[in-house]
């Protein structure tokens, strides 16, 4: 339970971090809040040659709103976003999901972008990003690019990020008028990884449900509006299509049932919350 040896670079500017990433590629890991990476190091699930600490880069510490987006830099801690004034009005789904991430003690250090880069299939922030149709900003020495959340998450802890790229920021679309948002999660205890987590966005025409903890990545789907008799069958089909597996925490049957029940409740709550 002790990390294997690695070099440590406390990057002083973003170019320095990107240079090390370019030189070391897959042998380098970015360290931000450390709440996912440090346990991976301790359990030796990750054995990088070099760890690049980006928490001292001032350019990455900003939360900016504009152009209908909340842009969160790579060094912004989850707690900082959670405490952002007006977050509930700017994006209620984000405000509802943040308290479900780990515990207050881990949100004090964990970063928003770190959770997205880590891409745990049951993590809340990737789910919210997929539900809202958000984007990830990636930067390397070669180029900068933006990737839609739906294509960024490629599988279990696997993303579209190339070895020389840094997740520089994530962009959450702000609340649309006429849309309602809701988040629900079932876990063994509050703060545990979700067995199933649901995020819903409902407006007058469309209902979208995103589900985490079941497939190897968060998955969003358009469904009939709450109240439409077709919703039940559509939820059932969604539950089966997520290809649930049995594991230590829950059976596949239980997970499918949670998608049906929790999914419906989340959609109904979002419909009730429509502004």
């Amino acid at each position: 339970m002790k990390p294997a040896a690695f070099d440590y670079v406390r990057a002083e500017n973003i170019e320095e971090a990107l240079d090390v990433l370019r030189q070391e590629g897959a042998d380098a890991r970015i360290l931000a809040g450390g709440q996912s990476l440090v346990p991976m190091l301790s359990m030796r699930l990750a054995k990088p040659r070099v760890v690049i600490d980006i928490m001292h880069l001032p350019g990455l510490k900003r939360i900016e709103t504009g152009g209908g987006m909340i842009r969160v830099g790579a060094a912004v801690r989850q707690r900082e976003l959670e405490r952002q004034a007006d977050l509930g009005a700017q994006q209620p789904l984000l405000a509802a999901a943040l308290p479900w991430i780990g515990h207050a003690q881990t949100r004090n250090r964990g970063t928003v972008c770190g959770s997205v880069a880590h891409a745990d299939p049951s993590a809340e922030l990737p789910l919210v990003l997929v539900a809202l149709g958000g984007e990830i900003e990636l930067r390397s020495r070669r180029r900068s690019r933006r990737v839609a959340a739906a294509t960024f998450f490629a599988g279990m802890m696997t993303t579209d990020r190339k070895d020389d790229e840094l997740v520089e920021a994530v962009r959450f679309p702000m609340a649309r008028s006429g849309a309602g948002y809701a988040f629900r999660e079932i876990g063994r205890r509050h703060g545990d990884f979700a067995i199933v987590a649901c995020a819903a966005v409902v407006d007058a025409q469309r209902a979208q449900l995103a589900v985490g903890g079941v497939a190897d990545r968060p998955v969003a789907r358009q469904l009939p509006l709450p109240g439409d008799p077709a919703l039940e069958d559509a939820l059932d089909a969604f539950a089966w299509d997520l290809d649930a597996r049995d594991d230590l925490h829950a059976t596949a049957t239980y997970r499918r049932q949670l998608v049906r029940r929790l999914g419906r409740q989340t959609l109904e709550e979002a419909a009730r919350c429509r502004a």
């Binding site: 440590y8 406390r10 780990g102 207050a104 881990t106 004090n108």
Partner: protein, 169 residues
């Protein structure tokens, strides 16, 4: 900053309970191990070592965090508080510590230092913390002795006494 080589020891300095301290650490050394083994402050306990149990919780720059989920080299220049920093004098417990003693808030005591550091921060920020808030905050800690009831009682008692102290002041 130059790259800190994996094989060499590096000087790490930070403020521990109000005093500047420093020691030598490899880049891979966890902050929890640095506090205990290099600085000798063994009040901070280490349980699961992957961020689940909360025993190693300390305050980093004023907020509770797991010392097993930080590297010692990350703490350079930080302001760190551990359970040793709670009591106002060697023969006097803090109000929170005393509330734990009076309400049987501990049995074996292994989880206690981490819980105290979390509650100390919570009650400083929110002296009006309600029982659900306290329980939510405690969800970041595992205790296998008490069943948590007496811990919640101690926290509520401490919150009440802190409010009274504040009103008197």
């Amino acid at each position: 900053m130059p790259r800190l080589n994996a094989e060499s020891l590096h000087r790490v300095s930070f403020k521990l309970n109000g005093r500047m301290v420093s020691g030598q650490a490899h880049a891979r050394m966890l902050l929890s191990d640095f506090i205990r083994h290099v600085l000798g402050a063994t009040g901070t306990h280490v349980g699961c070592e992957h961020g689940v149990c909360g025993a190693c919780t300390v305050q980093i720059d004023g907020v509770p965090a797991r010392s097993c989920l930080a590297l010692a080299v990350q703490a350079e220049g930080a302001d760190i508080r551990t359970v040793e920093g709670l009591a106002p004098a060697p023969d006097r417990l803090s109000l929170l510590q005393n509330a734990f003693r009076e309400n049987y808030g501990l049995q074996c005591g292994f989880c206690t230092p981490g819980i105290l550091m979390s509650l100390d921060a919570l009650l400083r920020d929110r002296p009006d913390a309600t029982e659900p808030e306290i329980r939510d905050f405690l969800s970041g800690h595992l205790c296998r002795c008490t069943g948590y009831g007496s811990i919640v009682k101690a926290a509520l008692d401490a919150a009440r006494k802190l409010r009274e102290e504040r009103e008197r002041a």
